[in-house]
Point group: C2
DNA sequence: TCAATATACATCGGACTTCGATGTATCGAA
DNA sequence: TTCGATACATCGAAGTCCGATGTATATTGA
């Protein structure tokens, strides 16, 4: 159905940016996590409703790393190598700034749309 | 400064989608508006803090029109032609759906980050 | 035992976004 | 008459998320 596809597209747009924010928040709270665990955390906190695709998540992780907001490190887990991420001091700073930005947007939406 | 540029980029991401949502909201509330007026409305309701660039706004308008959420019509204003937009029935429907999606995201952020 | 499922990482092309720069043109006011 | 506000639009750049695809190990239950 047309409206289904439409909403999928618009949902995607609305979520853009919020994914990065939540990743920073998870790492800020939990210390260190690997990609798969981060994805599980999205599932957990949103009841499976707000979960980036695997491809998207690794893009986000790569991007945040490139920006210096998180750090990745290869860690042995049994015979398997896992890439574990943690937030940097800059990441913590930026997280707080993003928080302020989100509050601003919430405020504007509340004023505009009501409730 | 690095963090300035960083925040600019991240702000942009966070705002993605919300612009479309607010345009629909303006048209839903005001009936008919032209592009420039929509931009002024962004300035008004956000104290100049959340305003898409001109390029971005016309892209958004074009996109919403293509999706069938708004309609554009050329109207004479003195000797000048203005393109006036209004929301379609589909647009109203989608606006409500987006509202639900935004509430969901707000709820998740509130649960995750607190307050 | 062995087959399915879950865990875990990553890349690629496609479709799409916002932005800044640029261009055109009209209007009102100093 | 010149400047700034009004008003529209397009373009390339950089970056987004997604779905598909690929690789490989661990676990579980039939």
């Amino acid at each position: 159905m047309y409206i289904e596809k439409l909403m999928k597209k618009l949902r995607k747009e609305l979520r853009s940016g919020i994914y990065s924010y939540l990743v920073l928040s998870f790492l800020n709270r939990n210390g260190t996590m690997h990609g798969y665990a981060i994805r599980k955390e999205f599932e957990r906190i949103s009841d499976g409703k707000v979960v980036p695709s695997e491809g998207a998540l690794y893009d986000i992780l790569k991007s945040l790393q490139k920006l210096g907001l998180i750090e990745g490190e290869w860690v042995e887990a049994g015979k398997r190598l896992r890439k574990c991420y943690s937030i940097t001091p800059l990441g913590k700073l930026v997280f707080e700034e993003m928080r302020a930005e989100i509050r601003l947007l919430e405020e504007i939406i509340r004023r505009e749309v009501g409730e």
